[in-house]
């Protein structure tokens, strides 16, 4: 197998040490950094996301794959030349809503969006509607991703949409919602632009919404 294929396989199985060693090897082989990222790491996370969607693997496997990807990206990204910079897909602001400290799913979305070429502004967890609005105003993202893991905090997502409306920013950004108890029905009910059931779907949803708006 080529070095790029080996990087992809190491990332899929969550082998961080091999992903790091192979990334160093790829640099010494003078492979294009953009190719290492796209054909190695991003391709790997595509496979991982697909298996997750099918219920073949679960969050632990996603976490160790994402960890391997992050470690590998840490090796290769400094070698990106100016004219080789990965095209930025979109700017995405992410956060877990107020009163909710759960962030594993959001962190996975963040890592996969970065891997896919997005600029991610992660506000963390327990984020108030006002902080979301401020971030949209400041960073002018194409997408705002809201995460909630509790039925007790889900109603906060609607508050964020209302605050965006009040601030005159609702039309400036597409809002996606996700988290274990969140559903498509709930997303439509509060007026969100999209629902993503997991990190892999979130990446695909963003790409889908971007192609629609082109």
């Amino acid at each position: 197998m080529s070095t790029l294929e080996n990087i992809k396989e190491a990332t899929i199985r969550g082998d961080r040490d091999s992903a790091v060693e192979l990334s160093k090897q790829a640099i010494t082989e003078d492979l294009k950094v953009d190719d290492i990222i796209q054909k190695g790491f991003i391709a790997a996370m595509g496979v991982v996301g697909d298996r997750f969607n099918k219920g073949e693997i679960f969050v632990p496997e996603m976490l160790i794959a994402a960890r391997a990807m992050q470690a590998g990206l840490g090796i290769v990204k400094p070698y990106l030349s100016e004219d080789e910079k990965v095209t930025e897909l979109a700017t995405v602001v992410l956060g877990t809503v107020k009163g909710d400290l759960h962030d594993i799913g959001k962190n996975l979305v963040s890592m996969m969006l970065e891997g896919a070429g997005c600029v991610v502004v992660d506000l963390g967890n327990n984020v108030s509607p006002e902080r979301f609005v401020d971030a949209v105003r400041e960073h002018k993202p194409q997408f705002l991703g809201l995460s909630s893991l509790l039925t007790t905090t889900m109603p906060g997502m609607k508050l964020v949409l209302e605050k965006l409306e009040e601030a005159g920013l609702r039309q400036e950004v597409k809002v996606l919602v996700g988290g274990a108890p969140v559903t498509q029905e709930f997303a439509e009910g509060i007026g969100a632009d999209g629902y993503a059931g997991n990190a892999s779907v979130a990446v695909n949803k963003i790409k889908e919404l971007l192609s629609v708006s082109e």
Partner: protein, 340 residues
């Protein structure tokens, strides 16, 4: 069909799959709402550390909402607080959260000798005593403890624990082995204070881990836990759980409390008559945003499937209107009458 059962009799019969006058109405987790707090003067976050207020708010379930049960442990964080986690106790309409793990390795875990006297734990125990004194044998008191899997999330860290199921499985087993003693200790103390049944909340949910993780890591531990707890138990796991309900039905619990993501008929099929079930009304679409008519529709579906204890799928969102909670028992009674 028998008649003249009081709430406690009905709930215990339903739990044990015995004959009942109608399905029981209960929530093994929490039915606390802001409306109930206003009715009693017992508000979040005070209730988590004040036994009188904890008991007063719990009584609303039986006194006002038509439930056959009272459930005083509202959050999932009393044990984490007792172990010294930094806490955010939340606001009137939010649940408490622990902010930082306190252990790096399983051999660091030592259960304090005065664990049962730690304020967050003692509050639950004292509230159970108060509820028993207040209600006598009229309604069922449901205690609650966190299981070892959930305790590991809070005390060691969810992300690390999940990754360790692949990277360091022996560490996972070691954590479960030591933390199960916390669940057993606290559950038995709750029975000694007068609880009728104890919910074990242990979040090895399908939204996070596969069914093999439950079978390989947690099922053997649950079998030990249920054999050492001095009373009936309900297992609660949020989210997608259908793929592990067969295993759960072998773990020694009397009942499994499941969520709206799982179809009630499929749930019944999965447990093969070994245990009773409670649930599984949708918290957000039905109880928070729906109407009594929507509540009745879902109650009807759960009753048609033979769910023994009808109630919300999990701790209810705190802004749920009490009218929708009252609608649950009203619907159960109405539908029971239809079949007579």
């Amino acid at each position: 069909m028998i008649s003249n059962m009081n709430s406690r009799e009905r709930f215990l019969a339903a739990l044990n799959r015995q004959e009942v006058d109608r399905p029981a109405v209960g929530n093994p987790t929490s039915v606390a709402t802001v409306e109930s707090m206003q009715a009693t003067g017992a508000f979040f976050p005070d209730v988590h550390l004040d036994a009188d207020k904890m008991a007063a708010l719990a009584s609303v379930g039986f006194d006002l909402l038509g439930f056959d049960t009272v459930s005083p442990y509202y959050s999932v964080q009393q044990e984490a607080a007792a172990f010294g986690c930094e806490m955010s106790w939340g606001e009137i309409d939010s649940m408490p959260d622990s902010l930082n793990p306190v252990f790096e390795e399983p051999d660091e875990v030592k259960i304090p000798e005065d664990f049962l006297d730690k304020p967050a734990v003692k509050t639950v125990l004292d509230s159970i005593k108060l509820l028993r004194k207040r209600h006598g044998d009229q309604c069922a008191i449901i205690g609650k403890v966190m299981g070892p899997w959930t305790l590991a999330y809070h005390l060691y860290g969810t992300q690390r624990f999940l990754m360790d199921t692949i990277l360091e499985p022996d560490k996972v087993r070691a954590y479960l082995d030591v933390l199960k003693e916390v669940s057993i200790l606290f559950a038995n103390a709750q029975f000694a204070c007068g609880a009728d049944v104890v919910t074990l909340a242990d979040h090895a949910t399908g939204d996070l881990v596969g069914p093999n993780a439950y079978c390989d890591f947690l099922l053997p531990v649950h079998k030990v836990v249920t054999s050492r707890i001095d009373g009936p138990t309900i297992l609660h796991i949020c989210g997608n759980t259908l793929d592990r309900m067969g295993y759960i039905s072998e773990a020694g619990f009397n009942n499994f409390h499941f969520e709206s993501k799982v179809d009630p008929l499929a749930a019944k099929e999965a447990v093969k008559g070994r245990i009773s079930l409670s649930g599984n009304l949708n918290n957000v679409q039905t109880l928070l945003n729906g109407t009594p008519e929507k509540v009745e529709e879902e109650v009807r579906k759960a009753m048609a499937a033979g769910i023994e204890i009808i109630g919300p799928e999990c701790a209810v969102p705190l802004r749920v209107p009490n009218s929708n909670l009252k609608a649950i028992a009203e619907a159960v009674m109405k539908i029971s009458q239809e079949s007579r």
